[in-house]
């Protein structure tokens, strides 16, 4: 498997607090990698650094052969092809579901390409298709703020589908979902993973078990362990820090 993402000694520091401490991560192309770890372990910070939201205090990020360290988020998204779904989810509230998706077009995102330009037909068609895939065809005209929580999460995943990046980062895609919704989301993500690389940050171990193959565990800004899920679940260091011995998430003291 070709390596598509690599971080070298990536570090982030906020007022003396090292949120990330020399993190070395390698993800292969087409892989579905899950990143777990207790709250404050630095998972979201790691995603922030990769997507350009925050500048690292040290280290480098390489994507698809390019050094993307410190580049602005819009360049990382448009030029290099990394898409991100936020923990929120983060949507365009007072715009319809369809409009949310239409905004996620991969090519029509510069001023010259949008000034007085209409929506290309293929974009509208693709949006319709994605709406079907995320089960929101009926709600195409509804405002994002009117959707249920689970639907909002799916809408943002739909935006990623529209965007079609080479690598997708999903930050807690099942947060706040019911068990059934979680399962559906898992299926969505698995279907996505085939064509592209997917990084999932998660807490819900049932969900992790549903989708994960390789798992990276972060703790206190460092990579604690990495490997196939079965090994991770049994790794004593991980168990001590994160999982209870029966494989369920431990209450972090």
């Amino acid at each position: 498997m070709r390596e598509i993402l690599r971080t070298e000694n990536l570090s982030a520091c906020f007022s003396g607090f090292w949120a990330l401490d020399h993190v070395n991560l390698s993800v292969g192309e087409g892989e579905l990698r899950v990143i777990i770890g207790p709250n404050g372990a630095g998972k979201t910070t790691l995603m922030d650094l990769i997507t350009g939201k925050t500048k690292p205090a040290g280290g480098r990020v390489f994507f698809d052969g390019h050094d993307i360290t410190g580049k602005p988020p819009h360049e990382i998204a448009a030029r290099y092809g990394i898409g991100r779904k936020f923990q929120g989810p983060s949507l365009f509230e007072n715009m319809s579901a369809a409009e949310n998706l239409e905004l996620a077009a991969p090519r029509e995102n510069t001023v010259p390409r949008t000034f007085f330009r209409r929506e290309p037909v293929r974009l509208r068609q693709k949006a319709g298709e994605v709406l079907r895939r995320i089960g929101l065809s009926e709600k195409a005209g509804n405002m994002a703020c009117e959707l249920s929580h689970g639907e909002r999460q799916w809408l943002e995943i739909g935006m990623l589908m529209m965007q079609g990046p080479k690598m997708m980062i999903l930050d807690e895609p099942t947060a706040g979902m019911t068990a059934e919704e979680t399962r559906l989301t898992g299926r969505m993500i698995q279907r996505l993973a085939g064509d592209r690389t997917v990084l999932v940050v998660e807490h819900d171990m049932d969900f992790v078990r549903q989708v994960a193959r390789t798992v990276t565990v972060l703790h206190m800004g460092r990579v604690l362990a990495q490997g196939p899920l079965e090994e991770i679940e049994k790794d004593p260091r991980v168990v001590r820090v994160y999982l209870k011995s029966d494989g369920r998430e431990r209450e972090h003291a």
Partner: protein, 349 residues
């Protein structure tokens, strides 16, 4: 569904408004026609602010500065048609300065009045938006800009007529022939329709979609590959151009321009029009501008300062009971259950 039913309700209001405005001169009420002519210019100003604030979410508290740039350039041009203007001569200016000579030809003045505010907005925008300057900062900076610009205009009496402004200017003329009131009215009306069509086209395009995205969640757009700074600068420039155009038209219509027209007062007046009328749909901007000015004119004749007081109170009431303005309040029943989340101006990290 007939095609008629697919037209958004706002367009009916627009149509009604334009119909009323278009037919008004036929009533023969010349005094009010002249007043409405001025308000037509205000419509252009309101549309320009709506693009910036209603669609992109950038609350410009100093929008009159862009208006004033266009206005003063036009005023200077008109006053220098026959050589050195009187108010400059009083300060010992013997020759028409080169920059003024350049804009004496009216087409040049119009062009300058549109392009210079646009360029200024572009520079300011490039400077401001490329950092993580959030909405509140933008408002504060534009407020300060209004004050500084006002002071600047007043201080340059030699060239701007200072506190008294530039007055005694000729009215509208086309190809050298002066127009009478009704002709001038329809000229301005035609420009308003063109501006309206332009704004409708722009906001209906993908550009408009992105602007609304910036308003709703500018930070999120970055991760979809958009550079919000570029879009903000672009809309600021367009808005500046339109505001400048309004300024250019204002001067022959009003006959004069003064520092009061280019400072905080006029800037915040437009904010009030949009707050009351509703923003982000163009209809509200026109509605608010017309309503506030027409009612204001009627009331202030009799009640003076009380009108302003009432306006302040109405503004407060609107913020509490109809934060999306009149058009927002009208739109909600049509939407059914959905409650729009009042989207504030999130300060970016």
């Amino acid at each position: 569904m007939t095609r008629l039913a697919k037209i958004p309700a706002g367009r009916y209001l627009d149509f009604a408004l334009f119909l009323a405005l278009g037919l008004f001169p036929l009533t023969g009420l010349l005094f009010y026609t002249q007043l409405l002519q001025k308000y037509l210019v205000f419509l252009i100003f309101a549309y320009s602010l709506d693009l910036l604030w209603g669609y992109a979410g950038l609350m410009d508290l100093g929008h009159a500065v862009l208006f004033g740039m266009g206005g003063y350039l036009m005023a200077l041009s008109l006053s220098a048609q026959n050589g050195v203007p009187e108010f400059m001569a009083r300060y010992g200016v013997r020759e028409v300065p080169a920059w003024l000579a350049a804009i004496v030809p009216l087409p040049a003045a119009v062009l300058a009045g549109i392009l210079i505010p646009a360029l200024f907005a572009g520079l300011l925008g490039r400077f401001l938006f490329s950092s993580r300057v959030g909405g509140v900062f933008f408002s504060v900076i534009t407020l300060a800009l209004a004050q500084v610009f006002n002071l600047f205009i007043q201080s340059q009496q030699k060239y701007t007529g200072g506190f008294n402004g530039i007055g005694g200017l000729p009215g509208l003329a086309l190809f050298g022939r002066p127009l009478d009131l009704v002709q001038g009215y329809y000229l301005v009306f035609a420009v308003v329709l063109l501006v309206y069509a332009f704004c409708r086209g722009l906001t209906a395009s993908r550009f408009g979609l992105v602007l609304r995205g910036i308003r709703e969640n500018g930070a999120r757009l970055e991760f979809l590959g958009y550079d919000p700074a570029r879009f903000k600068t672009a809309v600021f420039m367009v808005s500046g151009a339109l505001a400048g155009l309004a300024g250019v038209l204002y001067v022959p219509v009003n006959g004069m321009i003064a520092p009061n027209d280019v400072g905080m007062e006029f800037s915040t007046a437009a904010i009030v029009w949009l707050a009351i009328g509703g923003r982000g749909n163009l209809t509200g901007a026109a509605l608010g501008a017309m309503l506030v000015n027409v009612v204001g004119n009627a009331l202030s004749e009799n009640f003076g300062a009380y009108w302003q007081l009432l306006l302040g109170a109405v503004l407060l009431a609107v913020v509490f009971f109809a934060p999306q303005g009149i058009t927002g309040a009208l739109a909600r029943p049509a939407r059914g259950s959905g409650r729009s989340k009042g989207k504030g101006m999130a300060r970016r990290a």
